[in-house]
């Protein structure tokens, strides 16, 4: 089973990469751009057919290694 971890900066943590990209989009004429936040996705495949178990395992991985709670929030999505 494959689980996708969506990692995003916590609110209030400045994202200079995102704000620079937002500025670039505006300069290209996308005037409606209000904010761009750049995160990352991590796909983890675990040896189980049970979605609940896969989510539990990946959540534990997020807490221990994959994300830093000072900087980041995460959401999990079962892919297959």
């Amino acid at each position: 089973m494959k689980v996708r971890v969506h990692v995003q900066r916590r609110p209030g943590i400045a994202d200079p990469e995102g704000s620079t990209t937002a500025q670039a989009l505006r300069s290209l004429g996308f005037d409606g751009v209000q904010e761009v936040l750049i995160g990352r996705a991590i796909d983890v495949e675990v040896a189980t057919d049970d979605a609940g178990s896969a989510l539990d395992q990946v959540e534990a991985m997020c807490k221990q290694l994959l994300t830093n709670p000072v900087l980041e929030d995460f959401d999990l999505e079962v892919l297959a």
Partner: protein, 223 residues
Amino acid sequence: MRVAVAVFPGTNCEHDVAYALELQGAAPELVWHTSEDLSGFDGVVLPGGFAHGDYLRTGAIARFSPIMSEVSRLAQAGRPVLGICNGFQILCEARLLSGALMANRDTSFICRPIRVRVESTNSVLTAGASQGQVIQIPLNSYEGRFVAPGDDDLVVLRYCGPDGELDERFNPNGSTDSIAGTSNAAGNVVGLMPHPERAVEELLGSADGALLIGSFVTSLQPA
């Protein structure tokens, strides 16, 4: 005084650190990150570099290297533990210091001499300095912006101007409250982004770093 200088795959400042420690009369020894025994060492330094390629996040993988349980043991035993640049990032990831480091405010790599002001002398790095003293040492990092989790941080050094002024102009990387270095509550675990080991002789442009490294060496007690 025996000091372990931890070497991870990707560490690149270990020789400079060892040289700076030697100048201050300590006996440094390079120790590979797979070591599980630091008994007999009076303290440990985690030097700069790109441990484990900085993959995932800076320091995230290094904190699980076997040597880190010994670093934690020494920290808990009150031995001096110093993390410089990437070493600071590792100590934060290992929760031996609070906070985290991320990409600089201006998303540019910074490599130049900067000034820091001594905010506290209650640390193994600054015990030999005076409160408010301005020190010039090089900064050399892309992910040097310190983010404090709250207001419980123990600030040891802040980026400042020539006369110790605190101002965003003198905050090179956008760190919270211009923080350049922090410690744990006991003051025996210290991390900082700039490199004192690269400013230990006038030939290097500044010898201010020798004061900090000397302070660390003085604080070592026989194990």
